[in-house]
């Protein structure tokens, strides 16, 4: 019997999580035994404001299928305003990615607080779904790679 579905490609998704909110939120999701896709590989940083857009682009160049930046909600940043800088920077980055025809669905940003374990699981699920959709579209198109 033919198995119609192929083995799904193992996605490489990098998540930059701020230590104080998002990383704690992800940790809460784990402790609460909430299921979320295992494709995400987490890098803990002190603050979303520490994320140099160059890091995101380095991920894409090295073959990442998707990248996530997650930080504290505005007003809750452990360093007062780091996430407010991140907000501007990632907006600009996302616009440029789209302008060059890179699928913006591959780059997500979220505010996840330390108590939002459930939200974390949802954020990752949405990201993985978006990346798979982007992959499917590019495969059916001219076979272009993510980057």
């Amino acid at each position: 019997m033919n198995r119609p579905e192929q083995k799904e490609k193992r996605l490489k998704i990098i998540g930059f999580l701020c230590n104080w909110c998002s990383y704690a939120g992800a940790d809460l999701a784990g402790v609460s035994r909430l299921q979320y896709p295992a494709e995400i590989r987490i890098i803990r940083v002190p603050c979303s404001g520490r994320i140099n857009p160059l890091l995101v682009l380095k991920c894409f160049q090295e073959g990442a299928d998707g990248v996530l930046v997650s930080g504290c909600h505005p007003g809750d940043c452990h360093y007062q305003e780091g996430n407010l800088y991140a907000r501007r920077r990632m907006l600009l980055l996302r616009s440029l990615l789209g302008y060059f025809g890179i699928d913006e669905r591959r780059f997500h940003m979220s505010w996840v607080s330390a108590s939002e374990g459930r939200k974390w699981a949802e954020v990752v699920s949405r990201l993985v779904a978006d990346v798979r959709a982007a992959d499917a579209e590019s495969r059916s198109g001219q076979g272009v790679s993510a980057w």
């Binding site: 305003e81 407010l84 501007r88 907006l91 600009l92 025809g101 699928d103 505010w111 980057w147």
Partner: protein
């Protein structure tokens, strides 16, 4: 073919030889005077090479000021030379180079068109040049041309107040600042060569865009795959010669990210992915800083429409952060700033 743009040595600003000659004469006289009086070590301006090309010229002796040029072929943005310490030290000579922070520090004059002046404003905002060490010579301009004598794309949309160097509200370059205004140190332009230039030539050229960022919108309007193909085709020709970066007055980092090996952010070898990263990152680093002087696009040997990238960034910066580069030496760059109402629809 060495193009003459219609007449040997180019036409005056606004296209008429007469006005050009007057402004050019004023320039030569002013420059000769500044040098003779020892007010500046060198005048950075335009000259004519033996082969008939307009070239950057660094005049150190008063008698050489007669070789300075001002016409519609003077496309270069000379402001970039002001961040080249080696160059300036070489121009200053052994006596001038001593005591960079003293009254004896080297002083230079530089000729600027309106677009060039905006890039100088950014350099001032970023403390890369000392205003007191500069004599800024303004050149009212009616547009500059390419090798075939066609008006450059950036000139078509140039507002009157930029081309005629009206640097303060209500100020006319010929009349000086309004009464009661602070003294010269706050002024952006010290000397203005010639009268304001009419915009007939610009008006007669290709029609203005209906919307300010229409060229960018056209790219945005393409489907994603089309945009990807459009840019990939251009990036496939990119040689990574860095002419765009090196000609840019605002790319002055002593160690550029693209020259860093540890960490290495982008492969130095050309290839569509690495070229795309290079152009994206460079444009990103110019966010809120690029003033659309257009030199990058002019310098590119393989015709990549670089202004379309920088203008996209300018559009985002304007529409999302309400900021425009090159308007004020006190401006705070948008990428090192934030506002409580910053857009966050894209954030979950």
């Amino acid at each position: 073919m060495v193009a003459s743009g219609g007449s040997p040595g180019g036409r005056g600003p606004g296209g008429s030889p007469g006005a050009g000659t007057r402004a050019q004469e004023a320039l030569r006289t002013s420059a000769a005077g500044l040098l003779a009086e020892g007010k500046v070590e060198a005048v950075i301006g335009y000259g004519l090479s033996p082969a008939g090309d307009v070239v950057p010229r660094f005049v150190r002796r008063s008698q050489d000021a007669a070789g300075l040029l001002w016409n519609d072929r003077c496309t270069y943005n000379l402001v970039g030379y002001l961040t080249d310490r080696d160059l300036l030290a070489g121009l200053a000579g052994p006596e001038g180079a001593a005591g960079a922070d003293t009254a004896q520090s080297p002083r230079f004059a530089v000729t600027v068109k309106g677009c060039d002046l905006k890039s100088l404003v950014v350099l001032l905002a970023e403390s890369q040049v000392r205003r007191e060490a500069l004599t800024v010579i303004g050149l009212p301009c009616g547009g500059v041309v390419d090798q075939e004598g066609r008006l450059l794309g950036k000139c078509v949309a140039c507002p009157e107040e930029v081309r005629n160097l009206r640097t303060e509200p209500g100020e006319s370059p010929a009349n000086g600042p309004p009464a009661g205004e602070p003294a010269a140190a706050r002024r952006l332009v010290d000397l203005v060569m010639g009268d304001p230039v009419p915009g007939d030539r610009i008006a007669a050229s290709a029609p203005l865009q209906a919307e300010p960022f229409q060229d960018v919108a056209e790219i945005e309007g393409m489907p994603r795959a089309g945009r990807r193909a459009f840019w990939d085709a251009h990036f496939s020709r990119c040689l990574r010669c860095y002419a765009c970066r090196n000609v840019c007055p605002l790319c002055y980092c002593k160690e550029c990210v693209f020259d860093q090996h540890n960490p290495r952010w982008v492969s130095p070898a050309p290839g569509i992915p690495s070229n795309r990263a290079f152009h994206l990152i460079r444009a990103y680093h110019l966010a809120g800083r690029c003033v659309d002087c257009g030199e990058c696009e002019r310098a590119c040997p393989v015709g990549i429409p670089l202004r379309l990238i920088n203008r996209k960034v300018a559009q985002v910066v304007k529409e999302s952060f309400g900021f425009e580069a090159g308007t004020s030496p006190e401006a705070r760059a948008p990428i090192v700033d934030f506002a409580s109402g910053d857009p966050e629809e894209f954030i979950e």
